[in-house]
Symmetry: C2
Subunit: 749 residues, 2 copies
């Protein structure tokens, strides 16, 4: 213990030059972190004049008053997520934060008393606590089973402490800091470097927690520890966390700024995916707000070309028409822009990011604002009629700290009528899935072809303590769980995290300049060594089609012969096929490993001709897949759920195209959305495909040409240059005696 | 042919005494059927002053104008439902009806010209048509594959004809009546007695069609044929229709009035169930409106104590909180009070049924009104602020023409927060299912325990021509497809329609007088000869429970030993069980017949103790079943979908309790709804059962006593008198040394 203290002391000395002076921190009056003295005065002056702010305040007051009416309870920790002690301490941090705000805004001492009394209880409890009795975490907290949740607690509670700081006696402050806050900050940092000193969303919470309490306490050492990490923590030891991610980086980078540098691309995409980005946004932005208030000279919002504000924009764009985040990597479906961390994100981005009026419309839909300067600014903007609709457009978001590790391309048509989400990103740290060049497809807020998401019931204790279920590894992360290619029934990178973490796909090109023909194309050559996959997806609106169709060209070149499996995880009910298949009498798992053990075969047949067609219905709309096949291709109806004795997986369906014993091959598919059905009028409108045939007219190293013939006699030609994506390059190709010439990577007519 | 005409002529003579005089019909000016001369004048005077009416008119005008802009098309019939010619002729009848209305209301001749021109095309086409080329129906139409759709056509088109009747030349009228309307009416009646002369929803359409064109043409013979049926049609020959229903009744009853007498109970419940009641409501009410206008002396709305208006009330009560009809018997889910036949029903019931202001709120939600006197009255009522909320309460609806054949009991708590639908009715004609004493359970508009409904994709041509699929017989109608008891893996009445049609369950009692303890109880002794099932279901709100729970006591007494299977078709995902079970490696169908061939076993185990508990989650809410079991009871997770090669069935789940080799037994189950989960806040609230134990304290011929102990220590006792349901009877029972005494069939404390 002594040794560690000495080290910390030395670190202080070393980093003193990087720190703002202690006196500048001490000099400011409280509140200063999120609320500020001046801000509170403005808020008080505007009370009753800003409807959304008043409503948010009234709602909060109601919730807090209801809690205050109950006894304060700080139980001895014992449960996993979802259990009573977990839920109670989680509730406490929320009530504390909010009671602090109410004290400042309403100047009613009862809220300060409540915060003080609960904090004093914690100050009595905390020193008595060993590590949390549940042992599953790689970094156990004290109040919670993992340091992550302890960090959550401190991020919120430091705000509460800030609000009553000046109101407390010096003795009370001393007690709280000595018995609660300082040891609390130490536990989640120096005592748990494997948690704190990483580039990872967990560490971001840890960093923000330590930094925020540091800002409130005027403790420069803590603030520096937050910004720059621990300096004596180990480098990469090969150890992994509960999710399978490496604990220590090669280069020892850590701390809040490293967590801004590393996982965020210059476009603001967070490499773990939107579900975790949403989770990380709160500590990123709330700590940034605190830094901006207490240490404006850091110019945190300008850091890395304003990446924090870009991240908010990216995240809002990573949602479907209902505002639900695309479940890339480990993502729980249903999480949306209406979650509280996005309320913070939107308000802070508005206030500190140039008052973009499109953000006001989102705040309006969220229906609440932060009770601070930024929330007041948003509510006043809405009151003054400044809101304009938030327009989500097609967007390409690079991945990697320098934007050099692939990315995610989103093609949208109309008012999010149809949305393609195409993933050609890096692994995404420990929450990444093995799904290079996979995609999902949405119509408005409904999934047409789904990304399964994670296998977890977050905070539902009965389901594995609310934590990741083993099917997350055996199914959700595996390649076959995604709409992408599987070679020899083996996941990309053989499902080995170490290998996968070294690679990423490469963007070939992204072109959303014409709304009628939008294209994204990328290549992957590391998932299966010796094999290159080149996938091009185009959202095309043409005459003869009610809505845009999705063209998918997946060109595979390899140095040897393989089996290729391409699944389509359609949502909904089978309407029609153009091929014969048999439903087996008894149903067996499709394999033993790489996720295949979780698939039942419900039907199996062979393609009947050059095009295999399959129609389904979902949410009262019809869809048809038309895909090029040969008679040797096997087609399987599969259903998720084999080897899942706990019913952890949804019994969703898929269609699996299996092409065996080929070396090079090109899969070409078109997915149409068409028509509708109403169970009220019982009318089925346009329930059939508009496609007569899809043909590969030409396919070699240089060009692939696809003809799409529609039922009304129209013929459309899409040509892709396979080896030159330059915008300015000129191309010429003769197909069946006709000459085609064009510039750039693709031709369509 | 000649012979038939002679018979018709004789019928005319015989029934002349029952008819109103021909002169009274002829004397009236047109329109007179649905629109009336006076009504139209009033409508014209109110144009622009009644928002909902104006909006409905504008919407209709837009639709009709769009159709008029296209060429008139009356194609030679060739398709089944969902095919082009079917859909086109269906569209035509709608456009004709609406164009007629627009001509009258807007006085714009273009609409009259359109109606005339299309009718003249039909008059040219019709005489050339043989029976429809598709042969699947027991009664082929000419424009459509079944007389039913031809009748639909005439019900609508007679209204169009009425609207332009006076505007047409005498010669045109003669042409239309000779070549189209009269032979059309004959085809669906005298030429197809097996369709026309039944007590069945098909015949109701036929009767209304013949009657309405008769009213317009002033043809008394047709009107009489409509009201009283054909008089020389065969009696019961044992022949059946496509759905397996008997074609001819024993007593030869037929015609519109017989169709009011027979299938409607005095409470207005229609024996086929709400889905077909909804379908039949339009011809019933629109013909009734026509009769009321043209032959007010019939007092049709007072017929059978006002059963037509009661039927509207019953039907509205047979819907869930979203207005979707309970899918009793053959019912397609999603059909709702927003369907056009319910717009008519609600408007007509308002106008002719004493202006019930609750109906206005439904019309408001429907968002449109009929463009006639009744629609105007409704729209004016809404404009004048008279609407009050429609309150659905607990209700018991008797079945059978005299109300003597069982019924359907609906228990509701709160604002439809929880709704039990308990079926103890008669067979329900050819659309009935073999599911005595079955139930479904709703929370708001969501199914908690589902009734599967029908197996059919109505009007989706790719799915079996849009008609009933064979799985409707092999699965949907079978007992095991419902939440009720199966003996020896055999359906009620062995699934034999002839037997089932002779029997019905008997109400034991219905008591919804106290909202905190509502009970419905019924007995069935014919489904399995030698066995009596007595099922009692109570919706109980008690301290210690967040919401009401459902208590289900199913007492079985038999003359011999059997296997009893009781399924629970829960909706959603498995959360927790208190019993061990194994998931099989390969999955097999559970049986060969009576629907068991469609069930896979996904897990099988034995009850672990006196109570088997199972929790699941659906639509972000938690549910728990607690049921009394013995260690010998087998529990199976089943899934629908075996032997379903066309994917006609939904892959929904069920929990199946199997009790083997017992003679008498009592199943006692409690179903709780509790808590909630939000994927946005990720809070799981009250995710666990509040029940500590459910015990059968006493069970004999006279009394069954159930104790429900809650987690918080509360104990609740429900005692049922098994053999005396009289309200006034006094009872006394000693249980474990305590004396209980009460009056009436049940005790609860």
């Amino acid at each position: 213990m002594k040794k560690k203290k000495t080290i910390i002391y030395l670190m202080c000395l070393i980093y003193l030059t990087l720190s703002v002076s202690a006196s500048s921190l001490q000099a400011q009056e409280h509140p200063k972190l999120i609320l500020t003295k001046a801000g509170v005065e403005k808020i008080r002056a505007e009370l009753g004049k800003v409807p959304l702010f008043d409503a948010s305040l009234a709602q909060l007051k109601k919730e807090v008053d209801a809690e205050i009416a109950l006894d304060i309870d700080t139980p001895v920790p014992k449960d996993y997520s979802g259990g009573y002690t977990h839920t109670r301490h989680k509730k406490n941090w929320i009530v504390l934060q909010n009671a602090g705000l109410l004290f400042q805004i309403l100047e009613d001492e009862k809220y300060a008393i409540y915060v003080r009394d609960m904090l004093l209880q914690y100050a009595e409890l905390y020193p008595t606590l060993p590590a949390h009795p549940k042992t599953r975490s790689y970094a156990r907290g004290k109040l919670f089973w993992q340091c992550l949740n302890d960090s959550n607690w401190l991020v919120y509670v430091s705000q509460a402490y800030d609000c009553i700081y000046d109101w407390l006696s010096k003795k009370e402050r001393k007690n709280l800091e000595k018995n609660l806050f300082r040891p609390f900050a130490d536990w989640i940092s120096v005592k748990n470097p494997q948690f704190y000193n990483r580039v990872h969303n967990h560490s971001t919470w840890g960093n923000a927690a330590v930094g925020m309490i540091g800002l409130v306490m005027g403790d420069d050492e803590l603030v520096d520890r937050a910004l720059y990490g621990l300096k004596d923590a180990p480098l990469n030891t090969g150890e992994k966390d509960d999710d399978g991610g490496f604990i220590y980086a090669e280069d020892g980078k850590a701390g809040f700024l490293a967590n801004l540098d590393e996982p965020f691309s210059p476009d603001g995409y967070y490499t773990e995916g939107p579900y975790y980005q949403r989770y990380a946004m709160y500590p990123f932005l709330i700590f940034a707000e605190g830094l901006e208030n207490v240490k404006p000279e850091l110019k945190i919002f300008e850091y890395k070309n304003g990446v924090l504000l870009k991240a908010v924009h990216a995240l809002l764009n990573l949602s479907d028409a209902d505002g639900e985040f695309f479940p890339l990597n480990d993502g729980q479906k249903g999480m949306s822009i209406y979650t509280s961390s996005l309320v913070s994100a939107v308000d802070i981005a508005y206030h500190y990011g140039g008052n973009n009026p499109q953000l006001l419309s989102i705040a309006q839909e969220q229906g609440k604002v932060l009770l601070d300067d930024s929330g007041l600014a948003v509510a006043m903007g809405i009151r003054d009629g400044l809101a304009v609709p938030f327009e989500k457009k097609s967007i390409n978001l690079s991945d990697g700290s320098m934007g050099e590790q692939g990315g995610v391309g989103i093609l949208r048509y109309g008012n999010e009528d149809l949305t393609l989400v195409f993933k050609y990103a890096a692994q995404g740290l420990s929450h990444g899935h093995y799904d290079k060049l996979s995609y999902s497809f949405f119509e408005k807020g409904d999934e047409v072809l789904q990304d399964y998401g994670l296998s977890r019931f977050v905070n539902i204790e009965q389901k594995g303590g609310g934590n990741y279920l083993k099917e997350n590894k055996t199914w959700a992360k595996q390649t076959i769980a995604h709409n992408t290619l599987v070679q020899n029934k083996t996941s990309h990178f053989k499902g080995i995290y170490e290998t996968a973490s070294k690679h990423h796909s490469e963007l070939y090109f992204f072109d959303a300049s014409k709304s009628e023909v939008q294209v994204v194309s990328a290549k992957e050559s590391n998932a299966y060594p010796g094999t290159e996959m080149h996938r091009t997806m185009a959202l095309i609106k043409e005459d003869g089609f009610e809505k845009p169709f999705l063209l998918d060209i997946l060109k595979v070149t390899s140095d040897s012969i393989h089996q290729y499996d391409l699944p389509f995880y359609f949502m909904g009910q089978v309407i029609q096929t153009n091929f014969e298949y048999k439903a087996p009498e008894t149903v067996e798992p499709l394999g033993n490993t790489f996720g295949y053990q979780h698939l039942w075969t419900e039907g199996v047949g062979n393609a009947s001709g050059e095009n295999t067609k399959f129609s389904w219905m979902n949410k009262r709309r019809f869809y048809t897949l038309t895909t090029t096949t040969t008679a040797a291709d096997e087609i399987r109806f599969v259903r998720i759920g084999a080897n899942d004795p706990e019913f952890n997986l949804r019994r969703d369906a898929g269609l699996l195209l299996q092409r065996k014993d080929v070396q090079h091959t090109t899969f070409v598919s078109v997915i149409e959305s068409h028509g509708s059905y109403s169970p009220v009028s019982e009318f089925a409108v346009n329930s059939k495909s508009s496609i007569a045939a899809v043909k590969i007219l030409h396919d070699d190293d240089r060009y692939t040409a696809i003809e799409i013939a529609s039922i009304d006699g129209g013929k459309h030609l899409f040509i892709l240059s396979n080896s030159d994506a330059a915008k300015t390059s000129k191309h010429k190709l003769n197909i069946n005696g006709n000459d085609y010439s064009w510039s750039g990577p693709h031709y369509f007519n």
